[in-house]
Symmetry: C2
Subunit: 202 residues, 2 copies
DNA sequence: ATCGAGTACTGTACCGTCCAGTTCCACAGT
DNA sequence: ACTGTGGAACTGGACGGTACAGTACTCGAT
């Protein structure tokens, strides 16, 4: 069922995602998108009412992709033995996912336009952020029920966990352009962050 | 030495700061700034070469103001007794300062334009972020020398402290527009964050 | 006579629309 | 299976309208 129309639609979405992530909302022209999608501008406007609508669509689509990625990640079972090692590995994967250049660029994009598109910022916050925290929290709750952790507010614990891990690398990436972290940096953040977390919650 | 010229200069800086913080870089026109400063556009261009230069100047000036505020804050002495209470108060003041709407808007502004002005992002990161962490770290080092904390990497400890405190409220503010936190929220973040920090570092 | 206000102007970028001509696709009849 | 046909979708380019950075020029104030 890849009708021509559907193919074009997808091509436009892909192109728009690329260009918006790269150049920001106002830095992107509809002509740019049409050209990259190898499609006429008329066709773009046939599929999307206007620039704002197109922007909202690609942001939400990308957010959903990220959301499912996090779900998968938090679903990985954690052994009772070697709790610290297992948790460190979870932390490490969190870091990999959330410092991925595309994710960083998406954050940038939403923050930059949170004034113009308040609904979009709120939607991202709820679907891409709070939901991620909630799944992480349910993992912690499980560990707590097994007696491996000592937690009364699982959501708060998830907040602390992610704050310990992400505050530095995410901020660095936000401010210093497309800075790529070395693997060693991320390893270190995962290890030390997990250690502090366990000191408080084991 | 308030020459007429100096006063105009200041008026333009103030107006530009206000408008840029409110509407973002590309959302702000030079006419807006001139009008708010009660000055002709010609005069604006007499004092600042172009829009980019003006933007860079006001960002760096605001960053410096924030930096000195943090210095003051981290310099407050901490009693040996009631460590947790004292640290919680420090945390609370950190939160107040860094969730101030102006600061949040400045962060937004820099992140939004980190691609176009990479130097500015880097400058903010070094002067407004790493420097703040460094002063916090030196406070922790002092406490460690007094035997109140057990720290081997003071800078890392400062990172963890700020991550625990700021991750949630700052993210929320970034994404959900000018959301104001209730005092109670901030109290709670300060208390729980400090508790986790002390569990790991006391 | 110097400085700045006020305003008009230039050049550019870009959103969204329009139109004339072309390609794709589903479905009919053979 | 093969062809023909109608309609929908697409192309490419042009165009109106608007917004805005930066410049030029006139006139009044001090």
């Amino acid at each position: 069922m890849d009708s021509r129309s559907a193919r074009k639609h997808q091509a436009i979405m892909d192109a728009a995602t690329t260009v918006f992530l790269d150049k920001g909302y106002s830095g992107t022209s509809m002509d740019d998108i049409a050209k990259l999608a190898a499609v006429s501008k008329q066709t773009v406007y046939k599929h999307f009412a206007d620039k704002e609508k197109l922007f909202a669509d690609i942001v939400l689509a990308t957010t959903d992709r990220l959301d499912t990625a996090i779900d998968l990640l938090a679903g990985i079972p954690i052994d009772a033995d070697n709790l610290e090692e297992n948790l460190t590995r979870l932390a490490r994967q969190f870091l990999t996912t959330l410092t991925h250049p595309q994710v960083i660029q998406l954050r940038r994009l939403i923050i930059a336009n949170a004034d113009t598109f308040p609904d979009l910022g709120a939607a991202w916050y709820e679907r891409g952020f709070e939901r991620g925290l909630a799944t992480l929290a349910s993992t912690f709750q499980r560990l707590s029920d097994q007696g491996l952790l000592r937690i009364d507010d699982a959501l708060l614990a998830a907040n602390h966990f992610s704050g310990l891990l992400l505050w530095i690398p995410v901020n660095k990436a936000m401010f210093t352009g497309r800075s790529q972290h070395t693997e060693a940096d991320l390893d270190r953040h995962a290890a030390t962050g997990t250690r502090v977390f366990l000191a408080a919650y084991r």
